[in-house]
Symmetry: C2
Subunit: 148 residues, 2 copies
DNA sequence: GGTATACCGTTGGTCAAGCCAACGTTGGCT
DNA sequence: AGCCAACGTTGGCTTGACCAACGGTATACC
């Protein structure tokens, strides 16, 4: 495709959506090649940074819906990358803990995703990449703080 | 939600995908309030800029799948915003032409979308918005030119 | 102490987007 | 004439994001 339509291209929303599609596809391909999914990385990363947490906490930190978190944690448990145990202090909760294997997996996914970022942002310099990330982060912050 | 996880936030792919979600929602809400969809604007804009064209051409220029284009053109025809006529020079083709009402509609949607852009990019200055649009356009160009 | 209220994990389902395969029709090429 | 490519159209598939509701549990308030 040779997308034109200046009116379309001038719309940030359109650019973001289209770019997101490419990003999404690249991520899915990259992670798919090692039998993982984006959600796996998100959850492992959250557990690694914040330590063991309830599924609700994981859900909040990753922005993944509670119901979807259940399925993802199931998959991670099956792969022995995390452990799910009832919280003795609050029996409503399950405490999810990342395992050593989970940490190794996280590093593997980190590597894969770094390569994907490179591919995605190929035409941009290092400075420009930082710019883009900074701008997007600000936009995202604005909307997540006031609405979500 | 109070999304943290620096590892996640540092990934451009993640930022783009999340931001895209907000953008998509805002666009859907904005256009929904005047009973339109993103695809409508895309098609009307393409027809306005390039003149009458076959559905295949519209499809290419907007990046909308051929099969989805059929449905969208149907809707636009129902609203008398475009006309679909067989091409006498090539009977495989339908020539889609925007009507005067279609142009008025396009301007209406343009207005709505401008407001949506404002809302989406609220935390950014005008210069920063141009920066963001420029960076995204370059990323998008890179991937659309080499992969289809 | 008992009741209402809020939270947690889980199940099940919805909805729209983006795709893809296939078909009949038509055009172009050789 | 015969083959291949393009077009419009139908139908369906997959996935991500989301929502509603439930039983079970903790907390707050009276």
């Amino acid at each position: 495709m040779e997308i034109g339509a200046t009116r379309l291209r001038a719309k940030a929303s359109w650019l973001i959506n289209k770019t997101s599609l490419h990003a999404h596809r690249l991520v899915a391909e990259g992670l798919g090649s090692v039998d993982a999914r984006g959600y796996h990385f998100a959850i492992l990363a959250a557990l690694d940074e914040y330590g063991p947490a309830s599924q609700a906490a994981v859900s909040q930190r990753t922005g993944i819906d509670r119901s979807d978190t259940v399925a993802m944690v199931n998959e991670l448990v099956d792969q022995r990358l995390v452990v799910r145990a009832p919280d003795p202090d609050d029996r409503r909760r399950n405490v999810i803990t990342i395992t050593p294997a989970g940490r190794r997996r996280l590093e593997q996914l980190e590597t894969v995703l770094s390569e994907v970022q490179d591919e995605l942002l190929a035409p941009l310099s290092a400075a420009e990449r930082r710019q883009l990330v900074g701008l997007l982060a600000r936009v995202l912050d604005h909307h997540t703080s006031q609405s979500g």
